[in-house]
Symmetry: C2
Subunit: 191 residues, 2 copies
């Protein structure tokens, strides 16, 4: 079983539902690296087609893996698994080069609809099937439809147990850092 993460900055939606490239967020890189390493994922791809942002990723990774920051061994160990790539296609190509197999694309989202695979079912599949999996998270207002349509599997939105009464009504607005952590725990955690 090898699982990779992708954090996609393009193509994503903005609040008006337009397809845009979102800005890089430094703390996302750190949190995905640390959550990825804790749950034993094989790598983390930060996806952005914008040259300047790819250079920023290289600078951040350089600082933590070779520069001053590399004295912090635990952080360096997590950051060494991160790569910046211009597209999701490049991430999939890189995984094929590293593992010999094309990864299955699994997308996530707070608004995901249609035919979904449950976390429990995917957790089971991961233990029985050796095909690598690329777990894809959007930024901004979520992944653009073209990514969701291309996916092999779609995971349901993360929510509170519906058996619990909640007088305030439903709400689903996790940060991507929180969504990644929960998804990894549901698939790979010691629960």
């Amino acid at each position: 079983m090898s699982i990779f993460l992708a954090l996609v900055h393009f193509p994503c939606l903005n609040r008006r539902g337009e397809v845009v490239a979102t800005a890089l967020t430094n703390v996302d890189i750190h949190d995905l690296a640390r959550s990825g390493r804790t749950f034993g994922t094989a790598g983390v791809y930060i996806v952005t087609p914008i040259d300047l942002q790819l250079r920023m990723i290289e600078e951040v990774l350089g600082h933590w893996t070779q520069g001053q920051g590399s004295k912090h061994e635990r952080r360096a160990e997590a950051m060494r698994r991160v790569r910046g790539v211009p597209s999701l296609q490049d991430a999939a190509d890189d995984i094929e080069k590293r593992t010999g197999s094309r990864p299955r694309l699994v997308v996530t989202g707070a608004q995901m609809q249609g035919q979904l695979v449950s976390f429990a079912n995917l957790r089971k599949q991961l233990r029985e099937d050796d095909t690598p999996v690329l777990l894809v998270f959007g930024t901004g207002w979520g992944l653009a439809p073209e990514i969701i349509e291309r996916a092999d599997l779609r995971l349901p939105p993360i929510a509170r147990d519906p058996a619990l009464a909640d007088p305030s009504g439903p709400y689903n607005h996790l940060s991507v850092r929180a969504a990644v952590a929960i998804a990894l725990d549901r698939l790979l955690g010691d629960r």
Copy 2:
């Protein structure tokens, strides 16, 4: 069932194991507010004894609940449940005032040892017992021993499923944002 979160900045440990007050991190306030609201917690306490930091919390909350930021309704709704308090004692007093009962103190930590309650067991207890619970998270290198010793219950460190082989060996260095998200999902999520 009413669950509250506390993010403690003092007393915490630094990397040398000394008891210190850690600095406020803006993104922690946002992520805890959003995760807390998604899973239906009753409130989030940001604990710091430092006056300047308490004023910073007030400013951030003011911006998002009354100022410019309040136009973002989802964010405002999450931020309205956050309060800055000088100590964990103040958080517990506030909960007693709001609910009529003294909360049970439940602590978390990446190094937690001794007698632990499993997430599954606490999840069950929360559904059977009306006593409010204050779920406590540390910053820096974790909660100081004096907080852990005072707690009613201790949750185990979050980790990868031990049944999965991991050639890289164990690693447990989640951000507090990730740890809070996972803990809430394990206790209150639709898993």
